[in-house]
Each structure stands twice: as C-alpha cells, then as structure tokens.
Amino acid sequence: MNPTLHAVLVFLETWWVELVSGVVIVAVVPLVAGYIVLVERKLMADMQARLGPMRVGPHGLLQPIADAVKLLIKEDIIPDNADKMVFWMAPVVSMTAALTSMGAIAFGPAFQVARDINVGLLFVIGVSSLGIFGIVLGGWASNSHYSIMGALRSTAQLVSYETAAGLALISGLLLAGTLKIRAIVDAQQHFGVWFVFLAPVAFFIYVVASIAETNRAPFDLPEAESELVAGYMTEYSGFRWALYFLGEYANMIVVGAVATTLFLGGWLRPFPNVRWMNWLDALPALFTAAVGAYCVYRAGKQPVRVQTWFMWGVALACFVVALILAVPLLVAPLKFLVPGLHGAFWFLLKISAYIYLFMWLRFTLPRYRFDQLMHLGWYILIPLAIVNVLAVGVAMILEMEYGWNRWLAMLLTTVITLATALFLLRLNDKRAAAASSAAPPPEEPSTEDSYAG
C-alpha cells in the first residue's frame, strides 16, 4: 500500500473521534452562540418592557442568521496604520482558544466532546485563558487609543480574576481529588451531593470571577461601550468583529460548563442517589412536553399564519424530544440510554441557568470602575479564595483523619470564610473611607489652558 495513504488511514483510525468533534464544534458553536445572543436580546427586551427583535422570522427567530449573513458580506476594514498580520490573527486566536477549550468538556456521560484527558479541567481553563492574547494583540494592532486602553484593561482584569477563579476551582478540586471531567462528576455522585453545597463560597467566587473573565457586565470594562466605544473591538468590523463576539459567547459556554461540572453536579439530576426521588427522572420529559403544550396554546393566538405554523413546528419538536426522553424510561430494553440522554438534558439546563444568571446581572447592574474592579479582585476575592482553599483543606483533614461529620466540617469552613469575607469588606470600607477623607482628588490650577498652542 502507498505509505502516505497508509499513514493517513492510521491517522484517521486513531483520531477520527477528535476530527469529527472538531468539525462539530466549529459547525455548531457559532450557531449556538448566535442563538444565545438572540435569547439575551429577547430576555433583555422582556425586562425592559419592549419586544426585542421581531422582524426576521417569527418573533425574530431567524435574526442570528440574518446577522451572520450581514456580517459576512460587510466590507472588511483594516485601518491604514494597523499591524495587518496581527490585526488579522488576533480574533482568530480568541475564537480558536474558546473553541479548543471545549474539546475536553463533557456534556453528559455519553457526550464527551473530544476526549476525557487526565488533566481535563486544567486543559479547559488553560486553553480558554489563551483567548486573552487575541484581545491584547487585537487592541495593540488596531493602533487606536480606545483599542489599546481596552486591551490593557482586559489584560489587568484577566490576570487578576483568573487567579481568583483558579483558587476557587482548587477548592472544588480538593473535594473531587481529580482533574478528569468524568471523574469529577462521579465524585459528586459518590458524595451524594453537589459540591456547591459543600463549598458555596468557592462557587460564589467562581461565578464572580468567571463573569469578569468573559468580560461580561458589570465587569465589561474592556469593551465598556459608554467609555471606550467598543474597547479592543473598536476598529474591527464585519466577520472579524463577529469572531470576537462568538469567542466571548463560546467562552460563556465554557465557564458555564466548568462551573456546572465542578460545582453543580455536571449531568447528575438533583439528589442523584436518593431512591424515592427517582420520580425526578420523569421531569425532563414532562418539562419538554409542557413547553410543547404551551406552544400549542400560543399557536392559536399568533397574529400571522406563518407564526402559527412555526409555533406548531416548535411544539412538534418539543414533543419529539419529550418522547425521546420518555421512551428509555418506559421501555426496559432501552434503559441503558437513560443516563446519557437525561444527563445531557440536565447539563444543558444547568449551563442555561448559569448563562441566564450572567444575562440577568448584565441587565441589572451598573458597571464597575477600573480601580474598583481591581480592589474587588485583589483585596477581597483573592484573599477570600486563599482562605477558602486552606479552610477546605483543613475540613478534609478533619473529616479523613479525625472522622468528623463531613457536613459539620464543611459548615465550619464556610462560616470561617464568610467571617473572613466580612472582615475583608470592613477593612475595605475603612480603607476607602480613609482614602476619600485623606486625599481629595488632586487639585491642579485649572486656570491655564491645558492645550495652549
């Protein structure tokens, strides 16, 4: 046989799962991200007493596709003084990092995206933080003041909050004792409880830090619209801009998946080991069926016939999914499908809830100022995360060496960390008060024209 062909065949034989996964990620994630944007716009509209996108497709459901087409055919502008190579590369780096980090994530016991590597979580975090290079390089290459300021803010922010997030994850990893994605979830099944209940402070720190890492409000300083126009993306247009955008939303999915895996029990249903709660297994099917029923109910009230048909279509899809979720429960020979299908359902539900939280905060809160962001990171979150890691470690020693009740030990650590948090906040207030009373904003003679000439 031709040795080249042979090599290719061997390569395909060993790597076909990864190749297929790669294609699936690249094909599916942008679409999902587009629809997350639509969901976000719809939710925002709902909270702001308006309708949101309504024109493209029924209830604006085709809006993401229209947006993508628009961005693709838009003129691609590269500023004259930009470093063209870096300018071209930067969004690709951002996007690639976000997509690559998805490779190790598992969406259910049966849906490992690429491979369950032994450093799974570390890989996800490490690779997804590489996305920052895209932002910094893009901001630098644009050769614009707004861009460079956005890039600088982004760098400082990521360095600060990645530390806090990493320390928060260590608290969870101490409990799990492994970095393997599947083993982390198995550990939670073995414990019989999601880690969020054992280490709530760590989860809280991770939520805050992950919002900052993904540059979402109230920590969206790198692209603060009202201050820096669009921050590091100011000079980008067309599909390069879209790549940054997709990268951001893909990152949201990644941090949501990490939080779900480590703290929210991954693909486990609530109370995974409690036998009398087994009726919860029926919930996914009932839930999707209920959504379908609601669509049927709404279908009659649509003003336009296309929308009625569309609602019927959505209802049908919901019923099909409900059937797929229900059949393995009822038909004994198909029982082996239950963990896979239901696991994926719970996992996606938890990620959605996590992303919903992000959106909700974005619509509600004003934006932090840069110095306040840094204070929050370095004076409160990082010390708190360090204390939390130590406390969780002590609790585990108490449990394993001295036979304490696990809940008692964890309660103790939580109380200790919360006390630390209060202390830090008090300290911070005092420092802020001292700073504001001691040093009024620097006064300079303002009579002369600062731009004379």
Binding site: A49, A217, A224, S226, F363, R367, R369, P441, S446, S450
Partner: protein, 375 residues
C-alpha cells in the same frame, strides 16, 4: 526628550496620551468633543470643543418677528422645549408690558413641570446608561412617553412643541387634560420607586457616583453653575421660589439641596425634583381658573424701544433671555443664557484627577444638551 518627561512628571516618564472623545462617541450626549489629557487612565486635563451644532439661533432672531422666533427656541434645549418657550414668551411679555391671563399661567405651569419631569427622565436614563446600567433608560423613556402623549394631545407636537404664545396660549386645554395629568402623576409615584430600587441603594452605583466630580458651593457660584448642579452643592437657589414667575407662587413645593456636591447628590436632587414637580402638577390641576387664555396682544408686535432680561428655572438651570428692542417688529438683539453651556464649564474642574470612566459619569451628571450649548 528627557526634559519633557521630567517636566510632565508622569509615571515612568512616559508621554501624556491625548484621547479625543467625541464628537462621535456614545456618551458625550450629542456632538460634544472632549480632548482628554491622560496619564494612563487618569485625567490630567480636559478641553471641550463645542460648536458642532451651532445654528446661529441668536442671529436668526434678529431677522424674524417676535412670534416667528418662538419656534426656534424649542430647538435649543430640545429635550425641554416647553421650558424654553415659556422663558421666551414671558420675556417678550415683559418687554410688551402685558401679562398672560391666570388660566394660561396655570396651564403653562403644568406643562412646564411635566416637561421638567420628562427632561429629568431623559437625564436619568442616559446617565445610568453611561455608568453601565442598561435597563433604567427604557423605564424612563416609557414614562416620558406618557408626558409626550399629553403634549401631543395638547398641541399636536411631541418634542419641539411651540406650546405657548406670546401673551398666553393659543390652544385651550383639551377635555381630559386634567385627567391625563392626574393619571400620569398617580402612576409616576410608583414608577419612580422602580428607579430607586434599581439605583439608589446599589453599591456599584454609589461607588461610581460618590465623591466623583465634586463641586463646592464656591466653585459653583464662581463658575456660574445653576440648576440641580448648584443645588446639589448646598446652595438653595431656585428661581421658582426666588423670583416666582408663571403661577409658581400659588403652589407648595420644596427645593431639594445636596451637601457634598458630588454626582450622587446631583442624582438625589434631580430625583427629588421629579417628585416635587409631580406634586406641583397635582396641586395645579385641582384648580385651573376659568377665563380667557390669551391676553391683549395685537397681531403685530411692536414693543417699545428698550431692553429686558428675564430668566426662568429650566430643568437644567437658569435659562435667561436678554432682548433688546429698537421699536420695530423684529428684535434688535437676542442673547440667551443657556444653562447647559455655563454648567459645562465645570467639566474641567470636576474631571481632573479622576479616571476616564468618571469623565463619562460627569458629562452625564451635568445634564447638557448640545443644541443648547451651541445654539
């Protein structure tokens, strides 16, 4: 080169960064251009470049009759057109030595106070948006819409209303005018609580506004600042009380003042002003006197030669009209004292030493409208 660096005394001896903010910028409220002299993110100096919206309103006045010029003043502070119109009509009335009938005065007061609420709502929404809170803007515009509907029903226009005429009113209040105003005022009490819930106690909001852009009372007076900017610094000066015009002497209301003169105080003062305006409206619709709506003014206005200065408390501060008449049908000279223009002077004083993000908050808190700054 090294000497320069030593002179500038910036961190690491780096050059200062000049950031050009505007005239195309999401939060300069129109076409304001601010050149920021920055050390990192810290503001070392600002320079405002204005005039992008200059239309020569004062010069136009010299070539129009007194009535013809009235719609032009609506285009100055276009988010508070009714207040502009009131100031101009009263100034010309003073020049003519006529007085609007009591009914016209009360309706003018109601309309102007509604306009004050509408103007403050636009300020609140955009100010919150500048600081990063997306949602209040839409709530504010929702309430403003109700006010604009009342305007539309009254005079057919929503924004540049030209609601008043020299000597009184052209239009009688429509049938359900009182009812509409009352319904708005009743709803508004509950709505204003929504903004309070979203912002007043929010620690991020407080962090972004407390001790930002502090102006002392002395500074305010020296710079000529007026309106909520002045009152937030603790100076209780409101022309509605100090030199009552229209029908303000008939109503009970409070003048809210602040203590620190920071952005948070200005926020609190404006919020309270909206509540007070609501109370004025409620009092005014109780008893609108019957009678004519237009005083005795001729078709052709020929004021006697002379000059007059009349000022009112517009939503943004003291709005003054100085009119010189040479006895003809056209003014010889009209000079307008726009509150936004004079309040904008305080920007440099307020922004020095703060961060770029604060500049945006300070521009928002000054509540400028470029149509009025440039005229």
């Amino acid at each position: 080169m090294q000497d320069d660096a030593a002179q500038n005394q910036t961190l690491l001896g780096a050059d200062e960064l000049v950031l050009n903010m505007g005239p195309q910028h999401p939060s300069t409220h129109g076409v304001l251009r601010v050149k920021l002299k920055l050390d990192g993110e810290r503001v070392r100096g600002t320079e405002c470049v204005i005039g992008y919206l200059h239309r020569g309103v004062e010069k136009i006045a010299e070539n129009r009759s007194y009535q013809q010029f009235a719609p032009y003043v609506d285009r100055m502070d276009y988010v508070a057109a009714v207040s502009n119109g009131l100031g101009y009509c009263e100034a010309v009335e003073k020049l003519l030595n006529v007085e609007a009938p009591p009914r016209a005065k009360v309706i003018r007061t109601i309309m102007t106070e509604l306009q004050r609420i509408a103007s403050h709502l636009v300020w609140l929404g955009t100010h919150a948006l500048d600081i990063g809170a997306l949602t209040p803007l839409f709530y504010c515009l929702r309430e403003r819409e109700e006010i604009l509907k009342i305007f539309e029903k009254y005079c057919g226009a929503r924004l540049t209303t030209h609601a008043f005429r020299i000597g009184g009113l052209q239009y009688e209040a429509y049938d359900s005018f009182e009812k509409d105003v009352e319904r708005f005022c009743k709803d508004f009490e509950r709505r204003i609580q929504e903004y309070v819930d979203l912002l007043t106690g929010n620690s991020i909001w407080i962090g972004r506004t407390r001790n930002v852009g502090v102006l002392s009372a002395e500074d305010c007076i020296a710079l000529g600042a007026s309106g909520p900017v002045l009152r937030a610094s603790g100076v209780k000066w409101d022309l509605r009380k100090a030199q009552p015009y229209a029908a303000y002497d008939q109503y009970n209301f409070q003048i809210p003042v602040g203590t620190n003169g920071d952005t948070y105080d200005r926020y609190m003062v404006r919020m309270e002003e909206m509540r007070q305006s609501r109370l004025i409206c409620l009092q005014a619709i109780e008893n609108i006197p019957a009678g004519p709506i237009l005083g005795k003014v001729g078709k052709v206005l020929k004021p006697p030669a002379g000059e007059i200065y009349h000022s009112i408390e517009a939503p943004k501060g003291i709005l003054g009209y100085y009119i010189v008449s040479d006895g003809t049908t056209q003014p010889y000279r009209v000079r307008i004292r726009p509150p936004s223009f004079i309040n904008l002077q305080a920007l440099d004083k307020m922004a020095r030493g703060h961060l770029v993000a604060d500049v945006v908050a300070i521009i928002g808190t000054l509540d400028i409208v470029l149509g009025e700054v440039d005229r």
